[in-house]
């Protein structure tokens, strides 16, 4: 979706390293989803952020939504091979219409 830019497109990190994935919207968001997808499988929900400045964590994954509600970052601490996959941000706009970024393909080298 051109309304939603995700970066980087791909990322290769050494196991144990930290990493950040960014998602930027051209419009103010009603909500922002983060999903993970393994090849050939459906999307697994990670987190949803709705309030400006909100931050949520699940195990070693933290996601933040900026105050203006147009940018979100996903941070993984001490990455592991199990973190590998495609990370997708999904934007919820006022009409409850959900659009996705192109995804970030994460490879974690043992």
């Amino acid at each position: 979706s051109q309304e939603l830019e995700q970066s980087p497109q791909s990322l290769i990190v050494q196991e144990g390293k930290n990493l950040t994935i960014n998602c930027t919207s051209s419009k103010t968001l009603y909500g922002l989803y983060w999903y993970k997808q393994k090849y050939g499988e459906g999307l697994i929900f990670l987190m949803m952020l709705q309030k400006g400045g909100e931050e949520k964590s699940h195990e070693k994954i933290t996601a933040k939504l900026d105050e203006k509600k147009q940018q979100s970052s996903l941070h993984i601490t001490a990455s592991q091979p199990s973190h590998a996959g495609i990370y997708l941000c999904g934007a919820l706009y006022n009409n409850n219409d959900m659009r996705f970024g192109a995804g970030t393909r994460l490879t974690v080298k043992p």
């Binding site: 979706s1 999903y35 499988e41 929900f45 219409d97 959900m98 996705f100 995804g103 393909r105």
Partner: protein
């Protein structure tokens, strides 16, 4: 069922053939989304339903694509006269509203 169910999981169609893809959302979920995902790409929005009303169909790539949800539950995505460029994974998601959206496993369509 406990989750979103899509059928078939895999479909091979000859070019020019019509196909119908089914999505069974989670019971009671108001919102239903269809996406098309090409290999190595993020899901591209196709259409969105709130109950039986199709509120947005701006993502449907051509008039060969048609989606319906007549009773506000099960939805069908129909593709007429399939072309090779229609080959992709078709994902369905449902949600109660502005909350977590649950995805099905998708239908992988291959047009030969």
């Amino acid at each position: 069922g406990a989750g979103v169910s899509q059928s078939p999981r895999y479909k091979v169609a000859k070019r020019g053939q019509d196909v119908a893809l089914r999505c069974d959302p989670i019971s009671g979920h108001v919102s239903l989304f269809w996406y098309q995902q090409a290999l190595g790409q993020g899901p591209e929005f196709l259409t969105y339903f709130q109950n039986e009303a199709q509120l947005d169909k701006s993502g449907l790539p051509s008039d060969r694509f048609f989606a319906e949800r007549p009773e506000g539950s099960v939805s069908t995505l129909k593709i007429q006269r399939t072309q090779q460029e229609d080959s992709a994974v078709y994902l369905c998601a449902s949600s109660l509203g502005p909350a977590e959206a649950f995805f099905g496993q998708g239908t992988r369509l291959t047009v030969v």
